[in-house]
Symmetry: D2
Subunit: 311 residues, 4 copies
């Protein structure tokens, strides 16, 4: 039954599943691992799942283009939640293996730069080979193909392995951001610590188009969290921009900026407003002076009075 | 009866009266000359007149500060009409006077630079003395104090004089702009060739405040016609800005810009939207792409769909 | 001998002369009162005077257009000094006159708004008539034509009068700014509390031209002190802008902004860099981060290294 | 001997090698395939190669993060040339294989989206498995592991295969951009159709920092070709921007913009100015009015005259 199914980029035992399980509602959903981000998202488009979950950005590796491109192209989807998960690896081994026994290790290619420093210090002679996923690496260790796999510690139980070493990571702040997407609907409720995601296409031959785009935000006091260019696929030099901005579309400063963008850009895709993971309401900078909803309402009332001659 | 009285900066026989008489409704109004712009405007504030008429700008001399300051300070008034009048002078003399008889001439001080060139060429030996107004100069000629007065040709009849020479002016394009003001009410109807007048005060110590102000217009594609700084009277270096912008407050691009200004500026005074004198509707540049009312409506509909998940 | 002569807007006994005498070098100059600002400035242009001195701005009345227009048009001149003078009036009377004897008063028309409140409170029945200058008013009192003249207290001695009441003014902060102009030459030396004056003409039909102009300053962190539009005389709607900006042309941020303006504007007239009157060096906000001369030099060195491959 | 060696991302027979061989000087260089972009670039840093060659952007897939991150971090390198190569695939088979014999196909994962449509139409039942590179896939076909490999037609000879079908691609305009990097040195000579590459870090907590950055370009009339955000590795939400701009650092508008960026940004890395591939000099838009070198020179001369009083 689709309303209770969430798809995610599998297999089981990956960081994606671990991140998904941090969502309270995950406990009451059927969690279905899929072979690719497009497969996970298409299940939502087809009505076979209520949501799809995938990584969209890593603080070390950058944007996950498969996810961004699925949101940028194809049948529209919207983001309803985001999850931040610190990424630290465990070295998973078959029970009984000692560190000195480990001669071959495996893991997903993106894990390699994160564990390279640790390997150099602790297993300088171990040979690395890439696996299709961290979970797949764990499976290959269980099958005896490699001595150790780098994966999340939580994957040990699934694959009958033991975490020999944990908390392995090179970059102190490696974090991955995941999003839960669904078919277009009402955005998540406003919490006071929200973000709004968009994709914006610029017109042809407009040298200042990006500047104009940023001005639409700046004039309304809406700060950008991220801007990422992606090729449109129409040839070298044609880009669209995936943008995360502070605030919720229910805020006047945000909605006016969105309408401004809609007017000056050939295409704008609204990807949703949803709570910012890892940002407490108390930590949110208040809107710049003159851009709160109260300021918008006061200005509209002033204008109404002015147009009636009651200024 | 105040509803049929228009005050204007007198005396009779000035360019101001001539400009006022170009308004169709002037034929059915009692036109009351006043001794000063404040007097003319205060009569409106006191309910003793329906309108007041005064010059606000001359294409050679610049802004008429008495008029601007009356609109900037005091009890609010609004502009409902503007009139452009080309300024050319006649040399008025008592009947029978020949050019060779003219040894002394008079006129308002602002007339002098306009006729200086003509005097040098035609009456190099004539002595100039200033009068309180062009009309007053005419009166003094009638009384025999001077031989000639520079004034509008239309003033000749009023003072029993003859226009000896007409079409005297130095600057080819000398034009004066006049405004009809009244108590605050609904702005003049939108014609498609309109302007909107404002006074804006900037906050303290904001180096980029003027730039921010202009951005509020620019982002909505509203072009400025004029910007003029005036001291606020609170000390050297404190200014407000009298601004004329293209468009009517009934246009969305204009009203959104006004609300934006209201939000970021400590004070905004709306002085009205009214037809641009001397600009035919056909000559008006269409709003920049994305800033027509249709564009605003389409963007609002898109936003509503987006917030409902119908994008 | 022209090198020792300074002209000023006369007659003697005006605030202009008082302001001029605050300059140390005035003590060793021949101070020559002139009948008009153009006459004072033309004497400099003709080499008959080393400097000319005139009011350029009043904190209550605004810009003195005669002075601004002389700097904007005609043979170029430059500003080398500015002087601020608080404007307070004295009521000058013939010796022996008591306040109760004063029935008629006179003064320059711009004095009237400054003393109106005082008159209402202290001499509600006194009749006001305008004089050609405050000094001329004093002369007329001496001749017995009026009972009292509003002028600077310093004018009393010149005209054989007594200051009956002093420190009369309505606006608490009435200040007039005067400038000393000369033929173009090297600007005044940099003091650390300087300003730079310019006149800028915008091109035809450029809706965003004023914004572009301000961006040239803003990008280099140069704050504006004042911007004032003046008609170019080429017809209604054609303006140039007289601008005062913080900083000295010897500063890199200022000179780069000036060159930027020169490139984008059809005409720029440099009116000089000179010490800001009334602003101590200690009160000057330091240049925005990244806009000091040291920052410009460091960036130029970095660029040179980069272009040599030594980055 | 390092001066004649160019490293590139191998193995042999890839599009990278094909692109590298389009450079005239490649004919006289030892071309050394390396296992990774870091390996290829580190050889240059270590002085073991004069240049390294790698893809930096694909018009369908976007930026090649491995290459960008090598330029952004580590010991500085500079770009001296770029090459554009249209990407079309051939289906390589062992001699004698017919299309109907092809049951399994392989290729680099990024090839898959490019040939997916063709496969659906022509080999709907063929099973795809990914290879480490297109060249590696060809090798596996020669070894009999798969029936066909998608690779460049030029790879056929190297691996003893035949191109059964050529010109396979889904996106009509799939193009890959490659760069030749070397140790920092003098930039490539100016050709009139150049680009300049930079990496820019923004300061902390500056909401408008990206806008300020773009203004530095805009004020000098320098158009951006591309802007791409990359994580700095210091935690979620910290980005630097890899930017390609029109023009050569030897142009005044470009060098002034670079110095401006250097002043306002905590860090700027100059990656070189070099000829734009695929852009003829005749197709280059001339610099915006007021931003040519001649305009800069004229403005500097004007400033010098102004500072000498010769304006």
């Amino acid at each position: 039954m689709s309303a209770t199914r969430y798809t995610y980029l599998g297999p089981e035992g990956t960081f994606t599943e671990a991140a998904l399980r941090t969502l309270p509602e995950a406990a009451t959903r059927e969690l279905a691992p899929m072979v690719s981000v497009p497969a996970a998202f298409d299940a939502v488009r087809a009505g076979e799942a209520a949501g799809a979950f995938a990584a969209i950005e890593n603080s070390v590796e950058g944007g996950v283009t498969a996810t961004i491109d699925e949101l940028t192209g194809g049948e529209p989807l919207m983001i309803y939640r985001e999850v931040l998960l610190p990424i630290t690896f465990a070295l998973l081994v078959r029970p009984g293996t000692a560190l000195s026994d480990v001669r071959t290790v495996t893991g997903h290619p993106v894990a390699q730069p994160q564990v390279r420093g640790w390997l150099r210090g602790h297993l300088p002679d171990a040979a690395w080979e890439s696996a299709a996923s961290n979970a797949d690496g764990a499976r290959l260790v269980r099958e005896g193909k490699y001595d150790g796999a780098f994966a999340g510690a939580f994957a040990a139980a699934t694959y009958g392995l033991e975490p020999l070493v944990t908390e392995i990571h090179d970059a102190a702040n490696a974090v991955t951001r995941f999003v839960l997407v669904g078919r277009p609907g009402r955005p998540a409720a406003r919490t006071g610590a929200d973000k709004t995601s968009l994709v914006i296409w610029l017109g042809e031959d407009q040298p200042g188009a990006l500047l104009d785009l940023l001005q639409e935000f700046a004039v309304r006091g809406v700060n950008l969290i991220q801007i990422q260019s992606r090729p449109t696929g129409e040839g070298m030099g044609k880009y669209c921009f995936a943008i995360d901005a502070e605030g919720h579309v229910a805020e006047r400063r945000v909605s006016e900026a969105l309408m401004g963008l809609r007017r000056i850009c050939p295409q704008v895709r609204f990807l949703g407003s949803y709570p910012r993971a890892g940002v407490a309401q108390a930590d949110v900078r208040p809107p710049r002076a003159g851009t709160s909803d109260a300021d918008f309402i006061e200005a509209a009332e002033w204008l109404a009075r002015s147009q009636d001659g009651r200024s």
